[in-house]
Amino acid sequence: MQEIDENVQIFISEAVELLEEIENSLLELENASDDDELLNLVFRAAHTIKGSAGLFGFEHIIEFTHVVENTLDDMRNCIIPISSELITVLMRSKDQIAALVEALPEEESINTEEEKELVDLLNAFRSGKSAACAAESNNDETEAEAEATETSGENASLQLEEVTTEAESSDSIQSEHYHISLRLGVDTFREGFIPNALFKQLATIGEIKSAVLVDENMPVLSELDPESCYLGWEIALDSQASKDEIHAIFEFVEGAQCTILPPSSKISEYRHLIQHIPEDEYLALGQILLQTGTLTEEELQLVLNKQQQTQEKVGDLLVENKIVQSEVVEQALEKQQKQKVNQQKALSFVKVDSAKLDKLVNLVGELVINGAKMEQLSDRYSDDVLHETMESTISTLEELRETALALRMIPIGATFNRFHRVVRDISQELEKDIRLEIYGADSELDKTVIDKISDPLMHLVRNSLDHGIEMPDEREQLGKSRQGVIKLDAHHEAGMIVIQITDDGAGMDADKLVEKAIEKGVISSGQKLKRGEIFNLIFEPGFSMAKQISNISGRGVGMDVVRRNIEALRGTILITSELGKGTTITIQLPLTLSIIDGFHIKVDQEDFIIPLDMIKECITLNETQIQESSMHDYITLRGEVLPLIELRSYYSLSGDYGDDSENHLKHRENIVVVQFGQQKVGLVVGDLLGEIQAVIKPLGRVFKGLNGFAGFTILGSGHIALVIDVPGLVKDVVTNEKTQFDKIKKDQIDTSRRLLH
């Protein structure tokens, strides 16, 4: 078996970096000899070089670096004082390692004289240990071990203390060896890495008590990609080595996940391990605990037998039978839940500056535009090959666009998880008992959307905490459990993401809401509202359940602001509620802000884009409807009154649109019916030019105050079109209608008054 050169190459380049780090740190160390962090840095770097050299079997490098490392370790434990002579020797040693690395892949003996001298010098430093530290030198290895898991700021006596503490607490779980959970990366084989070398390497620093192959991820033959790696092990290692040393062995295994648990670990560390079992494995609770060495097989079997008899949950039984501490079980259960929810593969990640991603997305956007342009151009030629090429280019571009956008997609989970703390703190403050449940944490959406949704969500959750969930006593009286539940749920639906906030609290009283709305002048007393509309009144400006204002949600930001924020993201928000049962708020959002599917229309000579997801239908009017539309600002469509907006006049596109009735009528032929919320509106437009993918460019500083538009887009022709903000437009019309309606009513009242007098 030959190693693939590429890996050696990676080793060399990393070693070179580490050596540079060693040199810089040594230089700094000379001036700041008491800086333990620097010394640690040097030690770790040397250690990593040694460890990874071991993976490739570069015996010579290991051997020499080992001497250097020992010296550094003695320095860390203040056995040898730092002197500039010592630093010089270390610098020379570093050069020697560099020379050895440079000679790779051939392992030659270079500068044998120098190397021999260096080894002698280093050993001389070590044997000339200062008297002060000599007494502790017997405990060398224990110290190193203890220190390796800690930052080395403490002095030696403190470290010893810690060893004792750990020993005392170790009776809770008896595990005298390191526990290593290893999951190899998917590309391990392709990179030519050999797991066997790992075991060989581990064997050099300790005894492998057992290693169990984990086959959870291993597919059956029909689903196997034989070149991908699905392997993982749970390893018990009896070793005196430090955690650092063990870790270094795994450092060069690209894409692998590795958790190392030191011997005699505390419960908290086991909990930590359970948390860090790779999420892509779904393991039964028992198996998790078994794997982590918390349980023995017999214990698990015992519990499983009992379970069959009693049908109890394994977790409860484990606690009942005092086999596992309840915290550990809880943790494992939580993990199990997470694994169910979060099946996504956590392979290897690259951190990228989000500004770079934005640029990429922008460039791809430009490319999409140019692609559309080229496609238009190619229509001029009747060349089959050209058209074929064009077609495949367009579809590749499409894929590229999707891939680029997907790069910006991040799971909403992190945002959701922040609410755990919020719910905990606020429910304490309010003396309520509230549990937060999260579903669909892995639903992905554009980072910009996530950033902008966070505040409105916070407001809504606070609202539920404050106004939604009742006090525990009150709940009990109502026959509910004392603990209230708030659920956050995210899922994808028809190209949108739907986020729901549900509480099992008091719900809202529709009658009271109407009363309130009339009192506040949000609606007039005669107005009849549908049930759905009533609850959504709370999103109206100036509408707040003032009675209940508290410092939690009554912070001067009303629900209308929440709605405005959601609408700014081209989303919608709806609320449903049942008195006494709870409230559900549903937010629908586009997955991304930057590219939309739009419908290209013309009004006069100007281009406009209407977001496709807002369009219900496009209609061409018949004679009667044209007549009707010329009489009023609405038409009757399938028995429903459809208000019309004539974009030409609405946007004041050409100065005179008054008396030229023929032209006027002609322009009323095409109507695009858009819907926002419950409100449908017909937009009277010119030509319908079809669907288009539009990269939305923000309005920018100059047009920031411009209502009714979501942004600009550049068409295939290179011309700029405005993207219509349908919610803004619709709302405007509704407001206008209301004003008109009120005016008519007022006129009528005035008239009747005049008649009376």
Binding site: V702, L706, N707, I714, A721
Partner: protein, 172 residues
């Protein structure tokens, strides 16, 4: 276009601070420091933006960027001349609050780049100017004539833009 100064002839890439570009707006000559200019493009397809004040002529596609284009003539209350082949858009970096915003201004005709030494620039007159004095940076002396040097960044400044937003709201 023979004999006329073409857009391409004016190299704005390497300039000294004394250099000024002169142009014509409604038959009057103005100058702006070349250093503020990014580039000059020929008047191309502009997209109207509805419901904005008249002095905002629209937006233009500058290599994939949407650039707002203002009419200086409208801003100054001068007559808007008909667009012809010598109409140009001068692209500048304006500063709105702390944000750099690329903007274009329409001019009827670009004349030349000339040097106006600091010494030849006099403070703006308190009276008698055709445009608001706070838009004037100074009066540049060329031969025996004076030319208005615009404080173009002031014209395109935050207050002017804010004013526009206000007007905008009134209109809607």
């Amino acid at each position: 276009m023979s004999g006329e100064t073409k857009v391409d002839d004016i190299d704005v890439s390497s300039v000294e601070s004394d250099q000024h570009l002169t142009f014509v707006l409604s038959e009057e000559e103005f100058a702006i420091p070349v250093i503020t200019i990014k580039e000059i493009i020929e008047y191309g397809h502009l997209t109207n933006v509805p419901m904005v004040p008249e002095f905002i002529h629209g937006v233009v596609n500058l290599r994939g960027n949407v650039v707002p284009v203002l009419s200086l003539a409208s801003k100054f209350g001068l007559e808007n001349k008909e667009i012809n082949k010598r109409t140009c858009i001068i692209i500048l970096d304006a500063k709105v609050e702390d944000e750099v915003v690329v903007m274009g201004v329409i001019v009827d005709k670009v004349l030349q780049v000339i040097e106006i030494p600091e010494a030849d620039i006099e403070p703006p007159p308190s009276l008698g100017a055709t445009i608001r004095t706070d838009f004037i940076k100074g009066m540049g002396k060329i031969d025996d004539n004076f030319i208005v040097i615009l404080d173009i960044l002031r014209v395109l400044s935050a207050e002017e833009i804010a004013l526009m937003s206000d007007m905008n709201k009134e209109e809607v």
